[in-house]
């Protein structure tokens, strides 16, 4: 990939203090719906400093897993602890998530960012400049006044990510945040994500893009049919995944 000149992503993201909610530990976690077990994770610990990338085929349970970890879904059994504590609302406020289908508020583009800064208690005087910086970093500078709901799919995703970053989360869940972006926008978004990761945010990200997983990932979590098939450092996963399912997945992707 050519080296584009990118703005320093860190300048718009308030530095995050050391993540106090790691490790994320999962024990006997099960999620069910309609009598079917959609996710079954006996044990999982996420502690790596760098981004954790979640890979797996459609319907594997990736979105369900991140929603459980973020506390949006109630598990049928098992528990999740953050640094040994049960998650509470204060912990959720230290997290942010970009959904696979972003929900933008019925306000302007800038209004969506102002909103998050306001509920996070950022002083009014600071908000304007923060919003301006964020918009510039997401390449949305000219669109601040446009209704958020009139953005294109890719612009929507960019705004959703900026909005998540605006909250300066300690843990950032991303569910396929670049699935409808063009290569240049993907690169900008990846720079933003890397910037946040370097600033100390723990990134947990679902993606279908193996190249992206390789570029960003410190460790890979591979899911298949509601189970975690393997959790491997990226440096070891990419030459050759340990599990047969992941190997088939990677080979399949390479063949396509």
């Amino acid at each position: 990939m050519r080296d584009l000149r990118l703005p320093d992503p860190r300048s718009c993201i308030a530095a995050t203090p050391a993540v106090r909610d790691l490790p994320i530990a999962v024990q006997g976690l099960r999620f069910e719906s309609g009598g079917k077990t959609l996710l079954d994770v006996p044990e999982l610990t996420i502690d790596a400093a760098g981004p954790t990338m979640i890979l797996g085929p459609n319907g594997a349970g990736k979105s369900v897993l991140v929603r459980l970890l973020h506390g949006l879904l109630e598990p049928a059994a098992g528990q999740i602890t953050l640094a040994g504590r049960r998650p509470d609302r204060a912990a959720r406020i230290r997290q942010a998530m970009v959904f696979q289908r972003p929900v933008l508020l019925r306000r302007s583009v800038a209004g969506n960012l102002h909103y998050v800064l306001r509920i996070r208690g950022v002083p009014r005087a600071e908000r304007r400049s923060r919003v301006r910086d964020l918009l510039a970093h997401g390449d949305l500078a000219g669109k601040g006044h446009q209704p958020a709901r009139s953005l294109s799919g890719g612009e929507e995703q960019r705004l959703a990510l900026l909005r998540a970053l605006a909250a300066s989360p300690e843990i950032l869940f991303l569910d396929e945040p670049t699935s409808s972006l063009d290569p240049a926008a993907t690169q900008r978004i990846e720079a933003l994500i890397l910037g946040a990761a370097r600033a100390g945010t723990k990134v947990i990200m679902v993606t279908h893009d193996l190249g992206q997983a390789r570029r960003l990932g410190q460790e890979i979590l591979f899911l298949n049919a509601g189970r975690v098939e393997e959790q491997t450092p990226a440096a070891r996963f990419f030459p050759r995944p340990a599990s047969a399912a992941a190997r088939a997945f990677v080979d399949g992707q390479l063949l396509v």
Binding site: G71, R92, V103, P147
Partner: protein
Amino acid sequence: MQDFASSLDRSIGLIISGDAELWAIVLLSLRVSLSAVVIAAVIGMPLGAALAVARFPGRQVLIVLLNALMGLPPVVVGLLLYLMLSNAGPLGMLQLLYTPTAMILAQVVLVMPIIAALSRQVVETLDREYSEQLRSFGLSRLGSVPTLLWDGRFSLLTAFLAGFGRAIAEVGAVMIVGGNINHVTRVMTTTIALETSKGNLALALALGTILIVLAIAVNAATSLMGGTARRLAHA
């Protein structure tokens, strides 16, 4: 027929000539009903929204009750309020009976369930789309009410309008607690009822015409305004 034609003729004259008595009645009607709807909205919208997002035992019963209250007969509301406000009643010392304040109160009671019930529907629909995102922002269920109300503002305009339509057209409640006193508590609907029974069709027809034009104008204006704003916001 002769009679009707000449009444109509004179009623148009009343409207065009800016008859002072007629316009005083129109203004009082607007003052009473607009105050009532604003008060009802300030209470009813957050109430409906809270009912939409909160989860507690008995919630479904409350929703059924609220929906039933939408159809409260105005005369019954008038009667109950009359009993409360009359000298012997629990609120008798306020001396509100036969005042515009009593009429506002009656219409608040009448309109509030309508606005609350409609707001509940609007907010519940919006919440289905928003709830995970707002939870992710760290908002509690009740904490998400202001956001939902603001983002539902265009749909809530309809609830406000429905409330206004009900208030301005209602006779029974204002008649009982207002007393239809000349120059004090006579509004459009009560005047129409009284003047028709007295055979003064010109004034009744003039007020009836204004009432209908008002209803059409308010609806047209808001659907235009709401439609444009909604399109601009892509809501």
